[in-house]
Symmetry: C2
């Protein structure tokens, strides 16, 4: 399937397609209700000069913001959580109107977003993320060694592109923004054009928190519109880019970066198929639970999740038939779902046309008819034989759909070798199927960032051990956009050699024992408080 | 000045220029003595099919090599050190013949290289580099959280481009190779064409160590010639590239990577000016020591060091005049130096033509005349006014030369704002000059990876706190090629969710307390042995 979040080419990939391009030219980003198509006021597109002014204000804030230190930033992040909570009702109402996501989903997402802000406050207060390291001067086999002290420091102004599908947790107040601020960088967000009013509301919350705690003006900025996003990435003062969106949108940004005098790190979360493999024995043990689990994971949030399982391997045979029939029945009862915007909805329909035209694809189940108005689509599940897999069924489809691939041992092995890399890969097997679990793990490991066992990949906990990344094309391989280590993306190492105390950060002074450090090769935990 | 290690364009930048291209076409890489021009047998250029076969052998070795574990790899790295030591005499003799570097320098470099191999053995035995993290299942504000376990795993086959100027420590057995092997990756080295015989000798030492300890065949490979280097980077099984060389050579490799189906990380150490600033008071206190320090740092190893101070800011006035005169006198007494190869030598001479043609540049000192034969050049120091700096004097010049920029407060500030980013920046100031030291630190920090105080930037200790990197164009900003954290370049995170013990690495089993881990958010040191 084609990815519905991947428009044909170029700048259109940066956030919105032809429909919005017209609006952009009119200098407004309209706020559209996906459940009705109703248009209300959104935001003004940001002109190029204004983008430059916003970036320059951010860049001017970098040094004073960093100088305020970790304790200040932790307080500011907690204030961000408070300001968001204080606007919960308005945020949920605005979010519902602009995304058609449910109150429950948006409430849960806001809770996760404020939890994330407080989590990163804890991460920076603890300080291990700084990798503070001291090598005192001393003898080495190569002669006398100097005093060396290393620590991670902020990169500078970070550009963050909000995602359509997580209007809070991966958008203006999302993980990229929060981890970049936590690291000590000013942030300029390019708002996603499918929720401009919500973006403004969240921006105001962060700005209020920054102002209330005394952060320098400019530490948070926002721009609207495709051209503004392009100008943002091209601006020399921008030092890194965080992006969650389509592969083509990401590639358009990478092209802009390639044209800069200085290349900068690009952290893209781009495309993910999220394969799932179910063994015969797992089906025999818990077919009903698995059927319900698949349907919930594929269609939750209308399938608009980056970790939605898009391709599910089910064995041939009676138990597999039973599962497939049950999944089909569940799909047939599902209501139509409003997708996030007109482009995503129409791309989903195009995929439908394409996939049902393939000889080797069989329709299995389809949700209830669409109501009039809005950007509704019908959930859909299709089936292929794993031996036939080779084409569009290996690409992410954004929306409430999945491909079930029926396999036997040989066709599974052949199909797994064709899979693109994903954020996740999931194995359902019984506890005593050790050999097959190990074998499948070894086959999937090189193609995924997170491996799951008897669970479902949607739902990405913000925690220390989380990894939300994976080899290309899911991300650029080495980074995570969720979890404590997401902060590493917005930091760089600096080493001071033979430095007087006056120029050292307090974290590198000999007398400081308030954070974990490596001193003369030995890791030392902080002194008890 | 132009960087002598930066040929005009394209593939020529990958390692050697027109002179060698002809040899490459003849399918041999000649071994040339830079002190005499004498040519002896080198190595055969590697054909494209042979490159593919070598990469495929390496890729096949990846899983079994990783499976042997950290204890095995530490033993193998120590065996590499032993095999290199066992060949010390032959390595020094071959190195002298191919590089014209002194016995002292090559002996010191070999000691550093074997120290580096043993250092990385210690790093992986300790295991903190794995960032092992366990979040047990439990309640969260978003509901029940799963069991998540995160660790860094090897990327896969790594391509390493040997450097001309460190034929051991940054070449076949250098930091890129050793840190990639330590991380658990097979390595294929593209030998630098200015020391083919030495490259083969070092390759044989690593191969002997791998064989002796029982590593899978293919864990180390070597290729020769520009075209082979290009084919190596283009090969789909290569997962990362380490490169030390010219900016243009690096850009040629990045172009090849941009043409791959899957982009891969490129770790380039490319170009560095290494500014040094000396205050009036520092000169008053220790002019002679500083003069000697500058000359030693600029001309050691014939100035062919990536951290050579290329631009030295000296105050106007009498103390500055005295320093400059002393530096000039020292240069005038220096013998001519043989550079590493014909291309580097002729590029150095081209820079001489260009720089002396500039109106605002004044010659200060020049070394003794060149002997006949070989690739000798004369050390050279020139002077400019800091207010006039704007052109070629802001680019790295590879060889025994430096630009001295005479400043007063206003022209220093203006010149510093023009500087490109470097691996290092050095400040010489008196201990009680706190205000100026802090001010200069703040101005230099955003343009350097390592800040030095009253020391000299050449000489890069392999240690835990070392950082040998810096913002573009010195490297691609976020990584180091020297020190313990260089290993991070060749690893990626993987998280296991709800995984049975059978599929987990031993480092992530609950019962393992042999390495530092973060468990449920708390860093825990290993149990005492």
């Amino acid at each position: 399937m084609l990815c519905a979040d991947a428009p044909a080419s170029g700048l259109a990939g940066l956030g919105f397609g032809p429909a919005q391009t017209k609006k952009d030219r009119m200098s407004t980003i309209a706020s559209v209700n996906p459940a009705t198509g109703e248009v209300t006021d959104g935001a003004n597109a940001t002109g190029e000069a204004e983008v430059a002014a916003i970036v320059e204000r951010a860049a001017a804030a970098a040094a004073p913001f960093e100088a305020l230190g970790r304790t200040f930033r932790a307080a500011m992040l907690r204030a961000v959580a408070e300001e968001l909570e204080a606007r919960r009702e308005e945020i949920i109402e605005t979010g519902k109107r602009e995304t058609a996501l449910s109150s429950d989903r948006l409430n849960g997402e806001l809770t996760r977003t404020t939890y994330q802000a407080r989590f990163f406050a804890n991460v920076i207060e603890e300080g291990a993320y700084l990798e503070a390291t001291i090598d005192h001067a001393g003898g080495t086999p190569m002669g006398p060694g100097p005093d060396l002290r290393r620590m991670l420091i902020p990169l500078g102004t970070v550009a963050v592109f909000g995602a359509s599908n997580f209007p809070l947790a991966f958008s203006v107040p999302g993980g990229d923004t929060i981890s970049a601020l936590a690291a000590g960088n000013p942030v300029v967000v390019k708002a996603h054009s499918s929720h401009p009013a919500l973006s403004l509301l969240c921006y105001e919350a962060i700005k209020a928190a920054a102002r209330r705690t005394g952060a320098p003006a400019g530490v948070i900025g926002i721009v609207f519109g495709t051209e503004a996003g392009a100008a943002l990435v091209a601006h020399p003062a921008v030092r890194a880019v965080g992006f969650t969106g389509s592969l083509r949108g990401g590639q358009a940004l990478m092209d802009i970066i390639a044209g800069r005098d200085e290349p900068i790190p690009f952290y893209g979360e781009l495309s993910s198929l999220n394969p799932m493999i179910i063994t015969e024995r797992a089906l025999q043990a818990r077919a009903e639970e698995i059927a319900e689990g698949i349907v919930a994971s594929v269609t939750g949030s209308a399938g608009q999740l980056c970790t939605k399982p898009g391709l599910v391997f089910v064995p041939h045979g009676e138990a597999g038939d039973d599962l497939v029939n049950r999944v089909a029945d569940l799909f047939n009862e599902l209501p139509a779902a409003a997708l996030l915007d007109e482009r995503i909805s129409s791309a989903y329909e195009e995929v439908h046309e394409q996939i049902t035209g393939l000889d080797h694809v069989t329709g299995l189940g389809i949700g209830l008819p669409k109501p009039d108005g809005g950007f509704f689509v019908r959930p859909r599940v299709v089936s292929v034989d794993a031996a036939d897999i080779q084409g569009p069924e290996l690409e992410e489809c954004f929306g409430p759909s999945a491909v079930i691939a029926r396999y036997q041992a040989s066709s599974l092995e052949q199909a797994l070798a064709l899979l693109p890399s994903s954020l996740t890969a999931t194995i359902h097997a019984e506890p005593d199927e050790t050999a097959i679990t190990v074998d499948l793990t070894n086959k999937m490991r090189s193609h995924a960032g997170r491996l799951l066992y008897n669970q479902y990949p949607t739902g990405v906990l913000v925690s220390w051990a989380q990894h939300h990344g994976g080899p290309w094309p899911s991300t650029n391989t080495l980074h995570t956009s969720v979890g404590a280590t997401a902060i590493r993306r917005f930091l760089r190492p600096l080493t001071w050699q033979g430095a007087p105390d006056a120029v050292l950060p307090e974290e590198l002074l000999d007398r400081n024992n308030s954070l974990v450090r490596r001193v003369d090769g030995v890791l030392r935990l902080p002194a008890p408080a």
